[in-house]
């Protein structure tokens, strides 16, 4: 069969296919990638003439079988994943029947859909740029197919022209078009998540610290709180089995309620706690201290990091442990505005939860218990013993490290008396153990600490390596934060994890390519912060450009022109779009201008044609006037003069402008005279 593709087109198709597959690698089952590779190879073999294209029936049956297999393969991963896999399957299978221009169109359009899907998963400016490149590549395929005659650079020129022309339109549409709520819903997917896990055993946060991935960004309306107070609360772990800290069943139940979408009902439930609880401590009304905006990266969970203390609002739930949850999982880069209050409102601690905060596995850790006993024997009360513990961390040879030695069966004993090296979880875990052993209600809070300010102190970037664990103890009828890590490595709290490490080479070890590892290089540093800034602006102004922002922006733009309001603006824009369209279609600058003498003749003709004589197509003005003079009551000489004058104006070359004007005036008078006589 005759090959309709040129080598150039096919290589472009393969290139864009490869690029799109790489972009979607994270979302795809590895089988899909191998399958796609085989399909592409097969098409190359067709191109080189080694195999022939399959017939339609076989292709169709094959497609059905593959679809069924793919659905079975990824059924567990949720609707979105199934969708992505099916589209990718179609995209790959298209190679089997790439035999006409129409098929290539189909391929390219599917490519566009996949690029759009890629943007569902990735919203950073870098990714947007890559998506743009892929789109251009797909467009190039079309060009190479339909503009074969053009040289490469001409194709490139055409493409850039088309893209540049569409940019202003895209910007205007983006800024002005009303942001309607989406009429469709993105199906959720059950995906392996990033970020904090819901259980920690000393050892797992070390992994997290090694990731420089962005967790979220925050910008404050008011003053930016000091680094040492920026404890972003995410999870509370209050169940300990001797090795691992997890959420108690009570908390898990609350999380479950959020997951199945019963947030508001649960909030009412928390009010019930309050009415039953006689020891209620937080009756007074909280006052607002600050307000901040969080742009959170997708983590596919309901977690919403917040500073103490946040409030439940529409779409958000406050758990009884004061941590905030969204009603829908965060599956795209999303912005939230959160108000910070000086105390928590409406939620009080039930006796059960306080009891849970004393839970400890029975037995084990004899050395620790012995140490506690000696302290008690010296007459100290519980809180003083806890302070003694912190002093011990501070004064003895404890080290802050991301690569601690493994701990044995008696974790706490091992850490406290043998290894004496670890990171936040080790210290928090040990402190908690001692507190609970002393009958002081205590719980572990995990989240993020600190975050890095950009060069203009505009926003805060919190990365996964800022993950942290600290402790809250019940004292004076309220939960009070204690961060044992601060007694070992105060720099960790104040300056960030890199400064907190005793051996700084541990930081992001093995990730030589990570730009965050090279914070000492000023150039790279600058580059990094510039990029971070661009990405931030992208997130604020593009990804989270919503109705409210649009309204504000337009309001600002319209401030200078008081008569202009939004509806008039939209009307104006629509009108101007319509007029541009009309101009484009009719191209008035290309229509010939009717010369004055012809206009004058037409004036005359309109009257005479109605009453007397229709000019034949080939008839000249003089002939027509002559014929007319035989028919009308008008003076024949006038008509003959008119024709003569007309011919003079129209056909005499080198008429000066003034001459021409004079003659036109004459012609006009003649025309009026004749018209009157009709």
């Amino acid at each position: 069969m005759l090959e309709f593709l040129t080598r150039q087109s096919l290589s472009l198709i393969l290139l864009s296919y490869a690029l799109i597959m790489v972009l979607l690698t994270d979302q795809l089952h590895s089988v899909m990638i191998i399958f796609g590779l085989l399909c592409a190879l097969w098409r190359v073999a067709v191109f080189t003439g080694r195999v022939a294209l399959l017939n339609k029936l076989i292709t169709n049956i094959f497609t059905l079988i593959c679809s069924a297999l793919v659905i079975a393969l990824v059924y567990q991963q949720g609707m979105l994943s199934i969708l992505v896999h099916l589209v990718v399957l179609g995209f790959s299978l298209k190679f089997l029947e790439l035999k006409s221009v129409r098929d290539v169109h189909f391929f390219v359009n599917t490519g566009f859909v996949l690029v759009a899907l890629f943007l569902v998963f990735n919203q950073s400016i870098l990714m947007a740029g890559i998506a743009m490149v892929s789109t251009l590549l797909l467009l190039t395929i079309l060009l190479s197919l339909h503009a074969k005659a053009l040289a490469n650079y001409q194709q490139f020129k055409l493409l850039s022209k088309a893209v540049l022309l569409s940019v202003p339109l895209a910007v205007v549409l983006f800024v002005v078009l009303p942001r309607l709520p989406s009429m469709w819903k993105m199906p959720l997917q059950n995906k392996a998540t990033t970020g904090l896990s819901d259980s920690v055993s000393p050892g797992s946060i070390a992994e997290l610290s090694q990731s420089s991935e962005l967790a979220f960004r925050a910008s404050f309306d008011g003053k930016i709180p000091a680094a040492a107070t920026r404890y972003w609360r995410v999870l509370t772990l209050d169940q300990f089995d001797g090795k691992t800290w997890t959420q108690s069943s009570q908390l898990k139940y609350q999380e479950q309620q959020v997951k199945i979408g019963k947030g508001p009902i649960f909030n009412r439930g928390s009010l019930q706690y309050q009415s039953k609880n006689t020891r209620s401590s937080t009756q007074s009304v909280a006052t607002k201290e600050n307000s901040y905006q969080i742009i959170i990266e997708p983590h596919y969970k309901h977690y919403l990091p917040s500073l103490d203390f946040a409030k439940a609002t529409a779409g958000r739930v406050l758990l009884s442990d004061y941590s905030l949850r969204t009603l829908k999982p965060v599956f795209k880069r999303q912005a939230f505005t959160i108000d910070q209050f000086n105390q928590v409102d409406q939620i009080s601690q039930s006796p059960q939860s306080l009891k849970q905060s004393l839970q400890l596995p029975t037995g084990g850790n004899p050395k620790t218990k012995a140490w506690i006993a000696t302290q008690q024997a010296s007459g100290l009360d519980s809180y003083s013993i806890l302070e003694q513990l912190l002093a011990k961390f501070n004064q003895e040879n404890f080290r802050y490290t991301l690569k601690p030695a493994l701990l044995g069966e008696q974790q706490i004993d091992d850490f406290l008396f043998t290894s004496q090296a670890g990171f936040c979880v080790h210290y928090a875990s040990t402190y908690l153990y001692v507190a609970r052993a002393l009958n002081v209600p205590a719980r572990m809070v995990t989240g993020y600490l600190g975050g890095e300010l950009d060069s203009d102190s505009e926003f805060l970037s919190v990365r996964q390596y800022d993950a942290h664990a600290w402790v809250e103890i019940w004292k004076n009828q309220q939960w009070q934060r204690v961060d044992p890590t601060a007694y070992v490595a105060p720099e960790r709290v104040e300056q960030g994890i890199m400064q907190g490490l005793d051996d700084q080479s541990e930081f992001l070890s093995g990730q030589y390519l990570s730009i965050h590892r090279w914070q000492a290089n000023p150039f790279l540093n600058q580059l990094r912060s510039a990029f971070a800034k661009a990405d931030y602006l992208w997130a604020v102004w593009v990804i989270n450009y919503d109705n409210e922002k649009q309204f504000k922006l337009l309001q600002n733009l319209l401030k200078g022109l008081p008569w202009l309001n939004l509806s008039i603006l939209i009307l104006l824009l629509l009108l101007s779009a319509a007029s541009i369209l009309i101009l484009w279609v009719f191209k008035p600058w290309q229509t010939e201008k009717v010369p004055s003498e012809d206009r004058l003749f037409n004036k005359l003709y309109q009257k005479s044609a109605q009453q007397h004589l229709i000019r034949e197509k080939g008839q000249t003005i003089a002939d027509y006037c002559h014929a007319l003079s035989q028919l009308t009551t008008a003076e024949p000489q006038l008509l003959i003069d008119f024709a003569k004058l007309y011919n003079q104006i129209k056909f005499k070359p080198n008429l000066s402008a003034t001459q021409r004007k004079r003659l036109l005036v004459e012609l006009n008078e003649l025309q009026k005279k004749i018209s009157k006589q009709f």
């Binding site: 010369p595 080939g618 003005i621 003089a622 011919n647």
Partner: protein, 303 residues
């Protein structure tokens, strides 16, 4: 100068009664420096007009009666060996003149007809490696019988195209024929009104007549219509557009204007284009000549 033209026309019309249009066109053709073909039935006054034209304009003329046994040498001339001077010497044929009256040109064989080709276009004659220039001015006024008559060799399109105009005389009307018959005894004497020098001055003046872009545009639209519309088997050549413009200029000159108007083009259009549009085997279609159809399908008002 314009007096002279009026007088010329007057004299021609006195010779050929009732044919003002045709005499004017014939004069236009000569003023535009083009060759003229007069076609009609025998005895319609073709030769009379041709002869009157030559005489009135004060030009030397030679008349050649074409017959089927004529050879090119009979027109162009021949080299003959001169015994006394021991060399060939060229004896000029009748073509070496100012006006060549080629009577019944389509009775000659194609070979003889084509001998006229070079002479008409290049205004020179090549014999035995020598080129001999013809005098200035040089006109061919040819007459021919309609092609359906016996003993004719139709002129090929290439040769037809070399004639700027073809005119038909047609039967005179009743009054004109009556006047002709009455005047038969008093043979009108034909005087030369101008000489060849004055004719050349007039031709120069014709060339100075201006044509505006609007007019040229009209002309081009006419010519293009013949090239792209389906009705016309033979499209108009660029030589034809040149002829059209020159003829229209001469017409404008006779009408005492120094610029061309579409009416001038329309006036000369039929005689300039009809023989080209119809071709050798062309037959008039329906009641309208092809040239008229063409004129009617192009609007002079558009620009």
């Amino acid at each position: 100068m314009h007096n002279k033209i009026a007088k010329i026309l007057e004299q021609l019309n006195a010779v050929l009664l009732g044919k003002e249009q045709q005499t004017k066109l014939a004069l236009v053709c000569l003023l535009a420096d083009g060759h003229l073909l007069i076609e009609d039935l025998p005895g319609m006054g073709k030769t009379t007009l041709a002869g009157a034209l030559a005489k009135t304009l004060g030009l030397d003329y030679q008349r050649v009666q074409f017959t089927s046994d004529m050879l090119p040498a009979d027109i162009l001339g021949v080299s003959i060996f001169d015994k006394q001077r021991q060399q060939f010497s060229f004896h000029q044929g009748p073509v070496f003149t100012q006006v060549l009256l080629a009577d019944e040109i389509n009775r000659a064989s194609p070979k003889t007809q084509s001998a006229l080709l070079e002479a008409m276009e290049e205004r020179k004659v090549s014999i035995d490696k020598h080129s001999y220039s013809l005098g200035q001015p040089f006109f061919v006024i040819a007459t021919q019988n309609p092609q359906d008559q016996a003993g004719t060799f139709p002129l090929p399109e290439s040769q037809l195209d070399r004639f700027m105009m073809r005119i038909e005389l047609g039967f005179p009307n009743k009054d004109a024929e009556l006047a002709m018959l009455k005047e038969q005894t008093a043979a009108t004497s034909i005087n030369a009104i101008i000489d060849s020098q004055q004719l050349q001055t007039m031709q120069a003046a014709v060339k100075k007549v201006q044509a505006s872009d609007a007019l040229l545009n009209y002309l081009i639209r006419l010519v293009n219509e013949s090239r792209y519309a389906a009705e016309y088997a033979n499209a108009l050549s660029p030589r034809c557009s040149k002829s059209l413009l020159n003829a229209a200029k001469a017409m404008a000159f006779i009408e005492q204007r120094d610029y061309v108007v579409p009416e001038d083009i329309q006036a000369v259009f039929a005689s300039v284009t009809d023989h080209r549009l119809n071709g050798v085997h062309g037959v008039k279609q329906g009641s309208q000549a092809l040239s008229q159809t063409l004129l009617n399908s192009v609007d002079p008002l558009q620009s």
